[in-house]
Symmetry: C2
DNA sequence: TACATATGATACCGTTTGGTTTCATATATT
DNA sequence: AATATATGAAACCAAACGGTATCATATGTA
């Protein structure tokens, strides 16, 4: 349960993986199609996709010899729910908001 | 600008750092006080605090020989804003929501 | 002034991460 | 059946990460 939250946060911590999610937001894609958009090898992309899947940020759907990678909302949900705890510090502690302007 | 987003995501990717944020949500604390709550050395906590500061998740305020660590909302804001792009896939693509139930 | 305390910084270590190359396997296509 | 294509997996490497121990420094306190 909490391990899923960790996997989601970890998956989002890499800029390439976040870019992959942006790509997949427009259309579902195969590994080869995704790899063509980045200056890294298909093997490296595959590792990123594995982490994204572990973080529940994508789902993978076999179709013949291809594997379709599709955006999945659960991972973002895990992160959003963890962060929602801090919403109160936006509302309650106005001093926190002031810090945005005061500190540096 | 985008480097700040990366620093915020990276800072949140470690469970100890997220626990530190939970602690700081209740009260601002010195490094020593935070370190007393974890089974790791003060030096390790200091490294975590450095990353949290780089990610704009905390602000540090010197007070005599102590340094007060305080929650700062900007880091969470960075992450929330990046993720807000995906809100439309909650609303528009209902198929994405179905995946939560269908896949696995 | 001398000593205690709170923190900072550096060197070091094992593990994880992001990447490559290479080889294997499964599915289309001719 | 033979070949091409799409993917998986493993071995390997340099860099980053999470941690420790140690030493230095700045601020209170007796």
């Amino acid at each position: 349960m909490s391990a899923q939250v960790q996997n989601s946060f970890r998956a989002l911590a890499d800029p390439t993986r976040r870019d992959i999610l942006m790509l997949l937001s427009r259309q579902e894609m195969t590994i080869g199609e995704i790899a063509a958009e980045f200056p890294i090898t298909r093997a490296a992309v595959k590792k990123h996709l594995n982490m994204l899947e572990e973080g529940q940020l994508i789902s993978v759907h076999p179709s013949g010899r291809e594997r379709i990678n599709r955006l999945q909302p659960q991972g973002l949900k895990n992160v959003t729910e963890w962060m929602s705890y801090f919403d109160q510090f936006w509302d309650d502690k106005l001093s926190a908001l002031q810090d945005v302007f005061n500190n540096q």
